[in-house]
Symmetry: C2
Subunit: 803 residues, 2 copies
Amino acid sequence: MDFKLTSKTFKLNGKDFFILSGEIHYFRIPKRLWRKHLTRLKEANCNTVSTYIPWCWHEYDDNKFDFKGETSPERDLIGFLNLCHEMGLYMIVKPGPYILAEYKRNGLPEWLFDNYPEVQAIDENSNIHPLKMTTYMNPVYLKYAKRWYDNIMPIIKDYQITNDKMIIMTQLCNEIAFYYWFSGEGDYSSGCLKYYHEFLENKYKDINKLNRIYKTDYTAFNKVGPPKGDVKCEKGYFGYRDWHLFYRWYYAVYLTHLLKEVRSQGVDIPTFHNLPGWIDGRALEYPVNVMMYDELEKIAPEIMLGVDHIPETVDFRNLHDDLVCNEVTRALQNHRHPTMGVEIQSGSRHHKTRVYANELDLFYKACLIHGLKGINFYMFSQGINPPRKGDLGPVFYWQTPVDNNAEPSELYGVIQKFGEFIRTHGVRIANSSKKASIGVGLYRPYYHTEFTIPAFGKRKFDVEDLGMHYDPQRLRDSVLFDGLLRSLQILNKDFMMEDLQSVDLKHLKKYKQLWVMSLDCMDKNTQKKLANYIELGGHLIILPTFPQKDLDLKKCTYLQDFCKIADKKTVNPITPKINLLGVNDFQCFSRINLYKSNQAKTIAITEDGECCGLSKKIKKGKVTILGTAFSYELAEHLEAYKSLINTDNIKRYIKVNNSDIIAGELFGKDCNYLYIMNYHRNYQSFNLQINNITSSALKKILKNKTFIMPPTYGFIAPLNMEITPGISIIFTTSEILSIKEQKDFIELKIAGHQEFMGSLLLEVKNKPKKVLVDGKKTSFNIKSKEIYLEYPHKKKSFSIKIY
Amino acid sequence: MDFKLTSKTFKLNGKDFFILSGEIHYFRIPKRLWRKHLTRLKEANCNTVSTYIPWCWHEYDDNKFDFKGETSPERDLIGFLNLCHEMGLYMIVKPGPYILAEYKRNGLPEWLFDNYPEVQAIDENSNIHPLKMTTYMNPVYLKYAKRWYDNIMPIIKDYQITNDKMIIMTQLCNEIAFYYWFSGEGDYSSGCLKYYHEFLENKYKDINKLNRIYKTDYTAFNKVGPPKGDVKCEKGYFGYRDWHLFYRWYYAVYLTHLLKEVRSQGVDIPTFHNLPGWIDGRALEYPVNVMMYDELEKIAPEIMLGVDHIPETVDFRNLHDDLVCNEVTRALQNHRHPTMGVEIQSGSRHHKTRVYANELDLFYKACLIHGLKGINFYMFSQGINPPRKGDLGPVFYWQTPVDNNAEPSELYGVIQKFGEFIRTHGVRIANSSKKASIGVGLYRPYYHTEFTIPAFGKRKFDVEDLGMHYDPQRLRDSVLFDGLLRSLQILNKDFMMEDLQSVDLKHLKKYKQLWVMSLDCMDKNTQKKLANYIELGGHLIILPTFPQKDLDLKKCTYLQDFCKIADKKTVNPITPKINLLGVNDFQCFSRINLYKSNQAKTIAITEDGECCGLSKKIKKGKVTILGTAFSYELAEHLEAYKSLINTDNIKRYIKVNNSDIIAGELFGKDCNYLYIMNYHRNYQSFNLQINNITSSALKKILKNKTFIMPPTYGFIAPLNMEITPGISIIFTTSEILSIKEQKDFIELKIAGHQEFMGSLLLEVKNKPKKVLVDGKKTSFNIKSKEIYLEYPHKKKSFSIKIY
């Protein structure tokens, strides 16, 4: 037996496999209830169980291990593994060393810190690092981490799928970059700085090269002091630039080290590491977190990066957040691995924050549409910490699908239904995708700011101090994330994101339109790639400036020169407003660049009528430069994005006439999937067009039909799916949970929102003998081999039987 | 005719009056539609219209005025005033000079800035102030503001209620402190600094006194430089302290100046100023904003401070925010004025943020319960800006009750129903109040941080640099606002807030329990007041420390000395957790003070078993000190707050057995009001007890009844209300919109959530001849003169008629 990652899906014994997993922490549940929890998981139609294995729990004292429950029943890991195997569940294990999981000392043993205090990371003032972590590459820490691995890995090996057991993946440590991001503080211990100096030497080779850039006079790499305090000048700027780059390499060094240990123990299943997740219901910082692993991607590309989604509240405000996270992750992994949600919120870490079953129901559907190929519900089971083992309090997670006694909540029903849907459609949906003609460029250096622009605490960096004009955080959060990307999602414009530095030009070429947000600096190679993209026929839309410098802050205007577009001047009006392609008098950023060029078309003007945006044909392609930027705050912003997008012919088959409805299509091999989602907390009505299905019955049905979508609800439904030879579903507004071929009939298990009418259009070769809807015989007309049924959805699922 | 403010309600011609107003900007609506908008407002059962009068709109060029529509129909203010009067609406006018309202240059004329650039405020680097405002006390600005007042005030005078017309209140400028708070930057113009030096001289009298505190050697007050940059030492600390205090005085000087101008023009109606409101759906910064006016309260107490509420989303996350805002405002006004919501969200300033009718329906009910005595819906009518007059874009507000063409949205129905409810119950509810045995102390100096800890941008202040330990923002936001106050609201414990510096001891005395969050510093007088409170029999609960210094940073431990409680030491455990009154093993702040005292009871211990909280009887009263603090994150935090509160017998008549339901009672003269609210987006079931009503029928009904409350819904219903001699409503779960005495019957207009069962318990002297529910004769039993009816609520309101 084996388990593999491919570019798109997971493969189990060579066949596509959709991981549907639940997180159950055996160490937080009384042993006598383990079976009950696992039974609930199976009954929720999940195929996999996921758990941390806390080092401190099993190596409860220095060199004293318990995996059999000798000291506490809940230490019987072997028993738990056997039980999972017995129950036919696949398994994901996460043996640390770090686990976080609101566990005391993040899962590291207290004796380690007590007996070997030299393992601790320190901050820039030589105090213990605020997050009380270890130096990852500290030899003493690594020695004991190795001993932990030497003990746990043989167990994992025994139970891995390649040994005909059930563990399909193992995690390597957990969210290691989180600590630095969260605190905004690096590790200044000598153990860490040793690697820093090694990094600098690898990068610059000659100390004089470093000195030339830093404008310093160091005599050797090991004399280079790590950056501290605020960035006020170029030296500080380059110091932090390299400090950011160093950590990316350092994380890769550490995880590669662990990977080697894992492999040396004979564990041969895929490994992954998970990315730190959302905060306070928004994912704005998520791309920063992903980019902290951009070197890992180069050094150890076999390690999959897993996505965390914690939306807290699912609504119109964050309807794009999970999609952006997935796209950024996919772009960084450069189509190498499937995108998996290794922590998908089910329950709440905090009691103060409540999650509601209908919001998560909608969210899980979005996860499918937005490209996840595997999902781990975090937490499936509520945990109760052993006394004093919790980091926060006795209880770990509230509002979970099942509580600590394995009693189900309302959310359990949602997951069970979703599980059944996945069983029927998971693999097919995983193999389908959107057709995106719009590309959005990601430029990694703009996200290398966790130390200079920390998520919490004091900023160290003001671009103006360095003669630059564009703040990375403002542009990436406000303009890119909540401006362009949110607008694309609301406008139902399919897009994909691409890592501009690593993406192949031939891959980029497939986009009709490529949006790039540029700050002051961009390396010459990337500028060239963008120029090439235009040359090859693409339409580059760039804002709010052409790059003016390269990453070493040397003048570099390759792209602008290539476009032959000249700066006129820059203005800073008091109430900055522009007119753009017929959308008039709306607010934009106050710095506005004015441009001029021959043979260009003005697309935007200031209040004073000066050109601040133009489009220009260049060779086979086109460039559009806009000298300012905007978020999505006003209706006019959305309109302005729409107008810019519509300068190209972006084709779409699914159309709805209500801009508050998210709707589209996933294209698969055997069939397509239609999705319609209402993220609003009120009813939304709309008309629907499906322009790539030729059915005349469908045209007629849709022409006369106004759909009224209940609040916070969405569905995914097959289009043109053959369910048995001679019978196809052309269109439906129901969630088809299962399709069963019985002796005399085909049985469809139907679910849907009680307040949303069910409809089902079938194409049949031969007229069925009868059709039963929820057990009742239903009359139907057949016209050009099409049958149309309408029926109310019910609280529970029911069946439609076609004889 | 006259209109007055009293300590509790508004009085119109001597009678209580509940202001229900809608904001309609005539200058953003085509004149031909004015009547239609005002008609909609009347039909929504509002009694008042509110509008800004933009200076720049009417003085469209230097010394060129148009109030009659000579240059544009929408400048016909006189016509609009006449129309309002004709239609029988009262009116609130807001003639600036500043209006904000997303209007270009905040309503100030552009010619003013063009012709007199010297009016502009400047920042600490001598650049134009980032918010491009004027120096409020700049003589040139004041000269032209006076000319504006000289022209507009005679018009307002003509239409004021004391001249038998309809204007009941006028605003004095708008949110003037907002600019400083939002930018975190003071005004460093010489015009402003002149007042700064005057302030210092008034305060210190002798420059040597200032020098002693600042540790400086200035030779004269006008040599004192305003504070700039970061606070690193005591000089900077005191500089900013006085800079904060100066602005409070300066705002008062400016508004008093305007008030004098207004009065000199014969305008004799009450004046108000409104407080800057919420941001991003939370009101955490609101108390800072209120406290920016604490000197105004002393210098010009006649100016009412109006409250803004912009919840954006109404749910479990912010269910306490509006209550806290109201309480802070009330505490600061020290029971002098009614609390009015001068901007109550109806619609959204941003298109990106959506508001939903059911959420606002719940919110408006909360506004009543939480003490508002007047409400202005902001915006009632959508506005379209004259070209280039908007600050953001052409449209001002989306999702308003009526759009620019006066066509109603779903929200209109909510407001109309609310208006009818107010007409019936508004005055009675305004005259009723909660019975609060819990007081929560507000200490103003902890909020004087808009420059040192700006809401946006870089902090200038780290308490540790000054040898202090408690960060004001962290404590007031996390512990006080989202910890204690949120918990009190969730736990249904009625409280009132008091300004510790100004409140009378005899007023404080009425609280059984007084909660005080103390930072390092507190003046001696306030410490004495708290000691006196204990002496007189109160229970002071203080955390996370006793104050150690006074506001001049001199040692001052009056309160701790009084309590005879000794410090033991301070600990900083890595995973800080405590046990408190039976709630065990939960996270608290990492700085934990340990205490010891004779004859005290330990109430909290650390993981190491050391006492970090104790209670002690002192004279007639009691003190409880907790040496750490916590927000509300975990269920245990809520439990811990509950345990502390329950150390006293806090009586309550309304009880529900579901801690997710907000329920309570307002006590009035003629009747009480019951309120029950579900802020969750799911159904909540509960049982109800009402322990101060003796009806045996009610006891029986409630004993057997499980209520299931629909998502995001609440109601307010009378208890024991005589509706006509011989008939009383004992209890109901319906919203009684109106009560009409007809010839042969009493008619109750009934509304309620369709998914929430209606019930009505009546006490009748004589058996009614018949009862019609929605036109249908209904049988009823009468037992001990009580009649109980149950009926479904419907989409529309209907009537119950008792013959």
